[in-house]
Symmetry: C2
C-alpha cells in the first residue's frame, strides 16, 4: 500500500505543532498542544496522539503515513533521545522516538530544530538542489544545521552543528553566553544579542536614538528593526555590528566546509537588508581570497509558520 503522507512535529518550549505533509511539501493539516502542560512524557505523547488522530483519520489513518519526523530541542538523531533539554518539562534522557513510534505505530525520527530547518530548506526551500550549505537560525538563540554532500552533519555523537557556540570574542570583557561559555556568537547575533547590543550602546554613549524612549530592559530586536526603518542611526549601527559579527563568523565557517550558500532563518531575518548588507560585506572582507564573493548568503524561502513542521517532516521520508 502506498503511503503518501508524513507527519512533522515542531516541538518548542511553549507549543508543539503537528502537521500533515505530502510529498510536494504542502502542509495539509495542522494541530497543536501546549508542551509545558505535561509533566509526564507519556501524557504528552498520549495527548499528541489524540490530536493526531483528528487530522490523520480523514486522510486514511496512520496506514497512509510513512512516518513521523520531529524537530526537538536537544534531540539526538542517532539515539532518538531528548537529552538534558533545559527548556522542556522532562529531565534527563527521554527515549522520545521510541515512545512515539510505539504509540503512533509508525517509524519516528528526531533531530534538533536547526537540523530540521536545514533538512526542510534542502528539500523544499532555498537550498533545493544544493549539496553543501549551512543553515543558521537566528532566534532567541543561534542554531545551525550543516549539510555536506547532501546530508545533515551529526558528527560522532549526534550533536554536531552548534555554530551559535563558536567563540568570536576572546577579550576580557566578552559577553557571557547562556550555555556558560564566553564570547560565543549566540551572545551577539541572536535576537537577545541584538537587544544586548542596543542596551550597551544606549547605556554607554550619549548618541541620540528613538530607542531611548523605550524601557531599556525590554527593547527587542523588532524595536531595533522599526527604528532602523525610521532612519535611526543607532539602530543601523546595531545591525551593522550584528552583521559584522555574523560575517566574520561565516568567514570561518566557509574555510571549514566550503558551502555553496549560508542560509539564515528565524525571527531576526525580518531585519532584511539592515542585517544582510553588513553580513555580506563582513564575510567578503574576511573570508580567504579563494572564496571572496563566491559564497551566497540567503534568507530562508520557507514560510516561517510552516518551516519547522516541514523540516521535521522531511526526516520521515527516510524513516
Amino acid at each position: 500500500m502506498e503511503k503518501p503522507y508524513v507527519l512533522g512535529l515542531d516541538m518548542g518550549g511553549t507549543n508543539s505543532v503537528l502537521g500533515v505533509v505530502d510529498a510536494r511539501g504542502q502542509v495539509l493539516a495542522r494541530t497543536s498542544i501546549k508542551t509545558q502542560q505535561f509533566t509526564d512524557i507519556n501524557e504528552y505523547v498520549d495527548a499528541l496522539y489524540t490530536e493526531a488522530v483528528k487530522i490523520v483519520d480523514p486522510l486514511g489513518g496512520f496506514d497512509a503515513f510513512r512516518g513521523l519526523g520531529a524537530g526537538v530541542p536537544n534531540g539526538n538523531y542517532y539515539t532518538g533521545n531528548i537529552e538534558f533539554a533545559p527548556n522542556l518539562p522532562w529531565k534527563g534522557v527521554v527515549p522520545f522516538a521510541e515512545l512515539m513510534s510505539k504509540k503512533f505505530g509508525i517509524p519516528c525520527k528526531i533531530t534538533n530544530d536547526a537540523n530540521a530547518a536545514a533538512q526542510g530548506e534542502m528539500i523544499y526551500g532555498a537550498a533545493k538542489g544544493m549539496k553543501d550549505f549551512i543553515m543558521i537560525t537566528l532566534g532567541t538563540g543561534v542554531g545551525s544545521g550543516i549539510v555536506i554532500d547532501g546530508k545533515v552533519v551529526y558528527g560522532n555523537d549526534g550533536f554536531a552543528g552548534e555554530l551559535g557556540h563558536v567563540c568570536i570574542d576572546r577579550s576580557e570583557n566578552a559577553r557571557l553566553c547562556g550555555c556558560g561559555g564566553k564570547g560565543h556568537l549566540e551572545a551577539y547575533a541572536s535576537a537577545t544579542g541584538v537587544a544586548r547590543t542596543a542596551k550597551e550602546i544606549i547605556s554607554t554613549t550619549t548618541k541620540p536614538t528613538v530607542l531611548r524612549q523605550l524601557d531599556i530592559d525590554s527593547i527587542t530586536s523588532y524595536d531595533v528593526f522599526k527604528a532602523a526603518e525610521a532612519g535611526d542611526e543607532v539602530a543601523k549601527e546595531i545591525f551593522d555590528f550584528t552583521g559584522k559579527c555574523l560575517g566574520e563568523a561565516f568567514a570561518n565557517f566557509v574555510v571549514f566546509s566550503a558551502p555553496e550558500a549560508i542560509i539564515m532563518f528565524g525571527g531576526l531575518t525580518k531585519a532584511g537588508h539592515w542585517l544582510m548588507d553588513p553580513i555580506v560585506k563582513s564575510l567578503n572582507d574576511n573570508v580567504m581570497r579563494l572564496w571572496k564573493n563566491k559564497v551566497k548568503v540567503l534568507f530562508s524561502e520557507l514560510k516561517e509558520a510552516d518551516a519547522a513542521v516541514l523540516g521535521a517532516s522531511s526526516l520521515a521520508w527516510e524513516a
Copy 2:
C-alpha cells in the same frame, strides 16, 4: 585479473615521492624526482613515468595496479586539476589527473596533501575505525583534512578544510598570514609561526633564554623544542602560547563537526608533550560544556616518511 597494488604520489614543492603500496598499507618500493626541475608539466609527467616503470615492472607492470592517488598542493579532488599553486613551477590550471592517467594508463585521483593525510590516517593510522575526525597538519603551514561520516569533506568547490585560515585574532596587531589574510591560525601555529613567536618574545622582552644565542632570523621550531627539552622557560612559554592558539581553534572546530578525535601530523608534532599538554588544556577550557574532556587529541600514527605516500595512495583504491 586481480590488481593488488596502487601507486601513491606525494608531490611537494621540492621533492615528488612515488611509492608502491599494497592493500595492507605497506610501502613496497619508492622512488623520487625533483619537482622544481621541470618547467613543463609534460616533462614532469614523463620523468615520473620513467621512474615509475623501474618500481612497477618487477611487480608485474601497470596491469597489476588499480590506480594512482596523488597528494598535490592546491589539488582539486573534483576536477583533477592543480589550480594556481604558488609553490609549483606550473602556473594557472593544470589538468594533472588527466595527464597522469593518459601517460600511466591507470586511473588517477588527486587531492591536497592534508586531505591525503586524513585519508591515510583513516585507513592505516590513528583514525582507523573512526568515522568523524579532523586531521591537522602542522608544518611550514597549517593544513587540514576533515572526515565526516567516513568521507573526506570537499565542499561545493573541492577546497573545503582550510582550517589553517580560520581567523583567531581580530585585533589591530594580528599577524599577517602568507595567504594575505590577517590573524589566521597558520600565522601562529605552524613551524614558521612558532619561529615568529620566538622572535617576538626575544625582541620585545628581556627574559633569559638560550634562544638568544641563535641568529634571531633563523630560529626554527626545532631549536625551540631542543631548548624546551633543556628546561628553557621561554621555549616552554612559546609552546604554551602555540598550544593555547591551537586548543582555542580546536574548540571552535568541535562545535562544527563533533569529531571523535583531532589528529595532528607534521614536523611540529615532534614537540610532543610540550605542545600536546597546552592544546588539551586550552581545548577543554574553551569547548562547549557538552564536549569537555570528550574529544581525543592525538598525534598521527603514520611514519612521517610513509604517511604522505600512503595517504595519497589510499585515494587510488576508490579510483
